[in-house]
C-alpha cells in the first residue's frame, strides 16, 4: 500500500511538470496579455514596452519558463498583475482557497446527504412513482446550466424573498476574528456566533447551486449500484439466513453498493475544489473560482499558473485518497 502511494506521488510530480509547460505555453498563446489588460487600448508604445520588460515578458518563452520553474521550486510564483495587484499569487491563493474549501465541503455534504438515501430509496421502489420522479429530477439537475440555476436561486431567495444574502462571504461591518480562514469554523472557535451564522448564511445559496450536479450524479450512481447489488446472490443468502431488514440493507446491500459511489464522491469533490468558476462568479464569492474568472479577464499569468497547477494537484490527490479508501471498504483490493 505504502509503495503504491509513493509511486502515485512520483507520478504526480511528472504530471505537474508536463502540465506546467503546456499551461505556460497555452496562456501565452491567448490573444491579448497582461500589458493590454493593465494599460488599456490607448497606451503609448513606450509605456507598453516598459511594462513588458518589467513583467519579464520580453524574454524568449523558454527563458521565461525556466525562470518561472526555478522560482516556483522555492515557492515564489510571482506577483499578481490583475486579480489583486500588489499581492503575490501565493497570497491570492491562500486567502481564497479556504473560501472554496468551505463552499465545496458544504456542497458535497448536501449532495451526499440527499443523493445516497434518495438513490437507495429509488432503487428499492424501482419503477414506482418515487423512482420515476426522482430520476427525472436528477436529469433536470444535470441538464440545467449551473449559472442559470445560480441566478434563479439568487433572484428568488435573495432578491425577491430577501431570506439570504445575495453575494460575498460576510456582511460588511461584522468584525470577526480570523483564525483559520474558514469563516464558519473561525466563528465557532472564537464563539462569535453571529459571525459564524452570517458566514453560513452566505454559503447556503452558492452551495445549493453547486450541489446540484454532484447530487444528481451521486443519486444516479447510488441507484444503479443498489439495483445491481439487490440482484446479487449474496443478498439472497443474507435473506435466507433470516436477517432483519436493516442488517440486510446496511451490511449486505449498502456496503457493497458504496464502492462505485465513493469513487464518484471523490471525483466530484476534486472537481469542486478546483474552483467553481460560474457559481462563485454569480454570487461574488471570493474563492478560487472567482479568482480564475478574474484572472482570465485580466490575463493574470502568475495567478492562473498557480491556481491551475494546484487544481490539478488537488484532483490527483483526491483521486489517490479515493483509491486508498477503496481498500478500506473492499478487502479484495487490500490483500492484493
Amino acid at each position: 500500500m505504502l509503495r503504491y502511494v509513493v509511486r502515485r506521488l512520483l507520478q504526480l510530480v511528472v504530471v505537474i511538470l508536463v502540465l506546467s509547460l503546456l499551461l505556460f505555453a497555452w496562456l501565452r498563446s491567448l490573444p491579448g496579455g497582461p500589458v493590454s489588460a493593465l494599460l488599456g487600448e490607448r497606451a503609448t508604445e513606450e509605456s507598453r514596452r516598459a511594462l513588458t520588460a518589467q513583467l519579464g515578458l520580453d524574454q524568449p518563452i523558454f527563458v521565461q519558463y525556466f525562470r518561472f520553474l526555478g522560482r516556483a521550486l522555492s515557492g515564489d510564483f510571482g506577483n499578481s498583475t490583475g486579480v489583486a495587484p500588489g499581492s503575490t499569487a501565493m497570497e491570492v491563493f491562500s486567502q481564497r482557497f479556504p473560501a472554496t474549501i468551505e463552499l465545496s465541503v458544504l456542497a458535497i455534504i448536501i449532495a451526499v446527504l440527499l443523493g445516497i438515501p434518495l438513490g437507495y430509496l429509488a432503487a428499492r421502489r424501482r419503477g414506482g412513482w418515487f423512482d420515476n420522479l426522482s430520476v427525472i429530477g436528477s436529469l433536470i439537475g444535470v441538464a440545467v446550466p449551473v449559472f442559470f440555476l445560480a441566478f434563479l436561486l439568487k433572484y428568488l431567495f435573495a432578491v425577491q424573498l430577501g431570506w439570504l444574502p445575495s453575494a460575498g462571504r460576510q456582511t460588511s461591518g461584522i468584525d470577526a476574528t480570523r483564525v483559520t480562514g474558514f469563516f464558519v469554523l473561525d466563528g465557532i472557535m472564537t464563539q462569535e456566533w453571529d459571525a459564524a451564522l452570517d458566514a453560513l448564511l452566505h454559503l447556503i445559496l452558492p452551495a445549493m447551486a453547486l450541489a446540484t450536479i454532484p447530487f444528481a450524479v451521486i443519486f444516479r450512481i447510488t441507484r444503479a449500484a443498489v439495483l445491481d447489488v439487490l440482484d446479487e446472490d449474496y443478498v439472497r443468502t443474507a435473506e435466507s439466513k433470516g436477517l432483519t431488514t436493516p442488517v440486510v440493507r446496511r451490511r449486505h446491500v449498502l456496503r457493497n453498493a458504496m464502492l462505485p459511489v465513493v469513487t464518484t464522491i471523490g471525483l466530484q469533490t476534486g472537481a469542486l475544489l478546483a474552483g467553481a468558476v460560474l457559481t462563485e462568479r454569480v454570487f461574488g464569492y471570493p474563492g478560487v473560482g472567482e479568482a480564475l474568472a478574474i484572472g482570465f479577464e485580466r490575463r493574470d499569468y502568475p495567478v492562473l499558473q498557480l491556481l491551475i497547477i494546484i487544481a490539478a494537484m488537488v484532483y490527483v490527490l483526491v483521486n489517490l485518497l479515493v483509491d486508498v479508501s477503496y481498500a478500506l471498504i473492499d478487502p479484495r483490493i487490500r490483500t492484493r
Binding site: 446479487e232 446472490d233 449474496y234 439472497r236 443468502t237 443474507a238 435473506e239 435466507s240 439466513k241 433470516g242 436477517l243 432483519t244 431488514t245 442488517v247 451490511r251 449486505h252 456496503r255 457493497n256 464502492l259 471498504i329 473492499d330 478487502p331 479484495r332 490483500t335
Partner: protein, 334 residues
C-alpha cells in the same frame, strides 16, 4: 406428521409485456423428519423455483405463489414477512449453487457466520465467534480461527461451500435445502461436499431437500426422489426402485444418458432428444411428448394424471415396461 408438506404448489411469473409463465405447476410432496428427498430435473423444470417458494425468497412483485406449504403444521405461505424471517435460518436453512457469488465479498467469513447466531440464538459476539469456530471445524475447514477473519476471495471453492453449509446449519434447522450445491465445484471437491452433507444430515437429524440435475448425486444421497418435468412431478419413487426400474420415459432417458465406466466399449450414450424449450403446455397433453420415445397419440391429446403404481407415483400414459431394464437391474445388484 410430515415435517414439510407441499400441496399443489403453483408459481407463476407475471411480467409486464410478457405472457404469464408458470414455472411450478401443482407440485405436491412431503419430507419426513431426517429424510433426504431429491428434486431432480433439467434446468428450467422448476426445481429451484420450488425451493425458493418454500423459503419465501421469491420476489414479492411479479411472482404469484399458490397452494400450500406447511412446516410442522404451520402454513408458511400465509406467514407475515417478519414471521417468515424468524423461521428462515433458524428452522429452514438453504445452501446455494455458486459459493463465491453467494458470499458477501466485503465482510469477513466470521461475521457472515456469527450474524446468524446473533440473530436467531441471541448470542453475544464473543460467544458467537467461539460457536462459529466450532461450526467451521465441524464442516471440515482447517484452522478455523484464522479462516474466520478472512474474506471469501481468500478461500478455495470447496472451502467457501463448506462455510456456506456452516452458516445454513448454524442454528440447527430441521430442514436444509441444498440447491445444486456441487454444480460449481471441481469433481473431487463435489464428492467431498456430498460426503459432508451426508454425514451432517445423519449426525444432526436434519431433513434435506437435494435439488440437482445430476442423478449421480441422487444415487449417493437421497431416500426418495421426485423427478420434475415442465413444472410438474412426473415420477416419484424410493431411490432404489427409481434406479432399478425407471418407469417414466423421461427418468429412463436421464439414466440412459449417464456415462458409465462399466459400459461395453463402443456403446453409445443415449441422449434425450430436444430440450426443455420443446415443452408443450400440460393443458391437453403431456409436456414431454415431443421428446418422448414412447409417445402415443393420447400423449398429445390428453393430460396424463398422477397415478400410483406399486408404491411409486407416475404421470404417464405409456410408461416404460419394467422388464425392459432387466439388464440395468442386474448391474445394480452386482
Amino acid at each position: 406428521m410430515a415435517l414439510l408438506e407441499v400441496r399443489d404448489l403453483t408459481v407463476s411469473f407475471h411480467r409486464r409485456g410478457e405472457p404469464v409463465f408458470t414455472a411450478v405447476d401443482g407440485v405436491s410432496f412431503e419430507v419426513e423428519p431426517g429424510q433426504t428427498v431429491g428434486l431432480v430435473g433439467e434446468s428450467g423444470c422448476g426445481k429451484s423455483v420450488t425451493s425458493l417458494a418454500i423459503m419465501g425468497l421469491l420476489p414479492k412483485r411479479g411472482a404469484k405463489v399458490s397452494g400450500s406449504v406447511t412446516f410442522e403444521g404451520t402454513e408458511l405461505l400465509r406467514l407475515s414477512d417478519r414471521d417468515m424471517r424468524d423461521r428462515r435460518g433458524r428452522d429452514l436453512g438453504m445452501v446455494f449453487q455458486d459459493p463465491l457469488s453467494s458470499l458477501n465479498p466485503v465482510i469477513s467469513i466470521g461475521l457472515q457466520v456469527t450474524e446468524v447466531l446473533e440473530r436467531h440464538r441471541g448470542m453475544p459476539r464473543k460467544q458467537a465467534m467461539a460457536e462459529a469456530t466450532d461450526l467451521l471445524n465441524k464442516v471440515g475447514i482447517p484452522d478455523p480461527t484464522r479462516r474466520l477473519s478472512e474474506y471469501p476471495h481468500q478461500l478455495s471453492g470447496g472451502m467457501r461451500q463448506r462455510a456456506l453449509i456452516a452458516m445454513a446449519l448454524a442454528c440447527r434447522p430441521r430442514l436444509l435445502i441444498a440447491d445444486e450445491p456441487t454444480t460449481a465445484l471441481d469433481v473431487t471437491i463435489q464428492a467431498q461436499i456430498l460426503a459432508l452433507l451426508k454425514e451432517l444430515v445423519r449426525d444432526t437429524g436434519t431433513a434435506l431437500i437435494m435439488i440437482t440435475h445430476d442423478l449421480g448425486v441422487v444415487a449417493g444421497l437421497c431416500d426418495q426422489v421426485n423427478v420434475l418435468y415442465g413444472g410438474r412431478i412426473v415420477e416419484r419413487a424410493q431411490r432404489h426402485e427409481l434406479f432399478v426400474e425407471p418407469r417414466h420415459p423421461y427418468t429412463h432417458g436421464l439414466l440412459a444418458s449417464i456415462p458409465r465406466l462399466d459400459a461395453a466399449r463402443g456403446q453409445k450414450l443415449v441422449p434425450i432428444p430436444g430440450s426443455v424449450a420443446d415443452n408443450i403446455p400440460w393443458d391437453h397433453a403431456c409436456a414431454f411428448a415431443p421428446r418422448c420415445a414412447n409417445a402415443l397419440d393420447v400423449c398429445r391429446g390428453q393430460t396424463p394424471a398422477e397415478e400410483w403404481h406399486e408404491g411409486r407415483l407416475l404421470r404417464c400414459h405409456n410408461p416404460v415396461e419394467p422388464a425392459a431394464d432387466a439388464a440395468a437391474k442386474e448391474d445394480l445388484r452386482v
